[in-house]
Structure formats: C-alpha cells, structure tokens
C-alpha cells in the first residue's frame, strides 16, 4: 500500500508546503499590518509539477508567532 502512494507524496507535499508557507507569510495583524508569523525553517524552492520529482526540502515548518510589536509569542513546529 505504501509503495503505491509514495511516488505521489513529494508532489502532494510540495503543493501543501508552498500553500502553507505562502499563507503564513501573508497573514498580518489587522491593526498594524505587521506579520503574524516568522518562518525559521527552510522554505521550499522549486515547486514540483510531476510525479517522480523530488523536493529540495522536507515537509515541516518551524515558525514563531509574533505579537503586534514583532516579539515572538511562541515557537511551533508543524
């Protein structure tokens, strides 16, 4: 079973990782318009487009959630 879906994982995870990283960086505090999150881990570079391609990064995100004044309120690993 695993060997059936493993070839598709890099493509699916690449799409999800790009969506997650872009979404997190676009979120801002409503008053000050400052970022809500700061991604600390490496973000994916190349976006995969075909089954069989391999991602240049893993599929986790380490980030700080930021207060309005940009101090870190918490650290999270997704």
């Amino acid at each position: 079973m695993l060997s059936r879906y493993v070839p598709y994982l890099p493509l699916r995870l690449s799409s999800l990782m790009h969506y997650l990283a872009e979404s997190l960086t676009e979120i801002t505090h409503d008053v000050a318009q400052t970022p809500v999150a700061r991604i600390l881990s490496r973000t994916p570079g190349r976006r995969l487009s075909a089954v069989g391609e391999q991602s240049d990064t893993g599929s986790t995100v380490s980030l700080n959630f930021l207060e309005v004044n940009q101090t870190a309120s918490s650290l999270m690993n997704l």
């Binding site: 695993l2 881990s41 990064t57 893993g58 986790t60």
Partner: protein, 159 residues
C-alpha cells in the same frame, strides 16, 4: 572532516552520520556527503528517519554502510519501531556488549558462555518494542485481537 588523515581507519574506526532530512530545519542534506566521507575512509550511517517516508532512496547510488528508518513515520503508531539496514561487512565490525532473546542460539546456565546467532543480522535484533509506546500498541488493530482473546479467556469459568 577533510582535514583529518586520508585514512582515519588506520588510526581508529570513525563513523560519519548524516541526517538525510531534518524535521527542525526542514533541510535536506546532500547525500553526496556520505560518498565523500566513505571515500575518506569513514564508516557511514544515513539517518533516513524523516527522509525515507517522502523521498525516493536508492542504496545502489548511496555508498552508506548503514541506514536508519523509522516505521512510524511511514505507517503511524506504534512509535519506536524502525529498522537499521546495514551491510554485513559493516555489522561484522560492530561488537554488541550484551545479548538478549533471539540474538543467541545457545546460552550456558549456570555460566557465562553463549553462542551468538548464526546469521549476523540476528545478532543485532532488538527484541523489545519501545516501552513508552505500549499503551499506543494496545490500540493497534492486531493487538486489539489479542486483547479480545485475552478477555474471553479470562472470562472462562468451569461450570
């Protein structure tokens, strides 16, 4: 690493371990480092715990002596189950200072003599699961069957 002697094994055996993919930094390290270290004379271990579940790995192209894989990152619970894929020539360099069930063929009792299992990989088998995962294991489908059988057996009474 490159500043060491070209043949570190001549002095003492050295192991180079590379994390294939880090779940903290989200970086994938170049696997060519394994080949580089191997060419310098190091024994090499590829930690593929986070790499194997989502990447294609070919041990034909990576000259690692051993590779660690975590099964729960592939299949889910129970945690603590994995495997070490190793070359037989590498295992022969290792000395396990203790033995346990399954890793020996004969044990002398009383006494301290024993005969290690004939197959080299059996000498390194770990007979116990991660003790912290036993509670998770009880919810694992095959174990539920065992639980059910156990419950039925415990309810049995002589009439």
């Amino acid at each position: 690493m490159a500043h060491r002697s070209r043949s570190p094994l001549a002095d003492s055996p050295c192991l180079f371990a590379l994390t294939g993919s880090s779940n903290v930094t989200n970086s994938k390290n170049p696997l060519s480092l394994v080949t580089y270290a191997s060419d310098l004379g190091y024994y090499t271990l590829l930690d593929a715990a986070a790499l194997a579940p989502s990447s294609k790995i070919s041990l034909r192209t990576i000259s690692a002596d051993a590779m660690a894989v975590s099964f729960y990152k592939m299949f889910g619970f129970p945690t603590g189950v994995g495997c070490l894929v190793a070359k037989k020539s590498f295992l022969r360099q290792l000395k396990r200072p203790w033995f346990a069930g399954g890793t020996v063929d004969v044990v002398q009792v009383p006494g301290d003599g024993f005969t290690a299992a004939q197959e080299i990989h059996e000498q390194f088998e770990v007979p116990f699961l991660h003790h912290l995962s036993k509670r998770d294991l009880l919810n694992y489908p095959p174990c539920r069957t065992e639980q059910l059988i156990l419950q039925v057996l415990l309810r049995l009474r002589e009439d």
